[in-house]
């Protein structure tokens, strides 16, 4: 199993768990496993097109997955994934 660290505002949807054990595979498969365990989380992580929302940044260990292979980055047993919000918005 791998582990996903949950940011404080989303812990309400993981029974207040700060970290959740998930299946390894690719990053997106691990995150999908998280939303299978906690379905209420899905609408906050994914938009209507089932793409990760703009604010959702994923780190594998210390590395932004955008600097690796994106959603297809391999997740091995014992790896730690962090979901970190990049907050954005504005009048336009």
């Amino acid at each position: 199993m791998a582990k996903i660290i949950i940011p404080t505002p989303l812990r309400k949807f993981t029974s207040n768990l700060a970290a959740v054990a998930v299946k390894e595979g690719t990053v997106i498969e691990s995150i999908k496993d998280l939303t299978v365990q906690f379905p209420e989380l899905a609408k906050h992580l994914f938009n209507e097109k089932q793409e990760l929302r703009g604010f959702v940044r994923i780190f594998l260990g210390e590395d932004d997955i955008e600097d690796l292979q994106g959603n297809d980055t391999n997740v091995a047993q014992g790896d730690t994934i962090s979901i970190i919000p990049a907050i954005a918005g504005g009048k336009n």
Binding site: P7, P9, F55, F59, G90
Partner: protein, 143 residues
């Protein structure tokens, strides 16, 4: 939820919004939640990291969020929400504000009209991902 904010925190948000005009400012605020009341005690600025037009958009990078969570822990306060400004625009969430919003946080928006902060409103995302307005009241007891 209802917001109770100490005057110094609201003044800081307005000062930051005015200083940043005509660009959007952004930052976090901290305090605690008690009996469904959000007590805002402190606000701190984050430099708008948007690579788009900062007059209409703001970005708080992931590392700033990590830092804010750590700061709240050290200060024994809760990270309560995010503030940003709408220069010469009503303090209502845009479609973009909604698309990227997180649940369980309050979103303050300050309308800065011709360089002067005139109104701050608070919004919170429901579980159905709709923004509802929260009442803001000044807490003169500073607690």
């Amino acid at each position: 939820m209802k917001i109770l904010i100490v005057p110094s925190a609201l003044r800081d948000i307005h000062d930051i919004a005015e200083k940043s005009y005509p660009y959007e400012c952004c930052g976090f605020f901290y305090g605690h939640i008690e009996n469904d009341l959000v007590h805002v005690l402190e606000a701190t600025e984050v430099i708008n990291d948007s690579v788009e037009n900062k007059k209409v958009h703001y970005t708080i990078p992931p590392k700033a969020f990590m830092k804010a969570e750590r700061y709240a822990l050290e200060q024994e306060k809760a990270l309560l929400g995010v503030f940003h400004s709408h220069p010469d625009h009503p303090p209502r969430p845009s479609g973009r504000d909604l698309e990227d919003a997180l649940p369980e946080l309050s979103y303050f928006i300050t309308n800065v009209h011709q360089g002067q902060a005139i109104d701050t409103r608070s919004w919170r995302l429901t579980e159905d991902r709709v923004f509802i307005e929260e009442q803001i009241e000044i807490n003169y007891s500073n607690k």
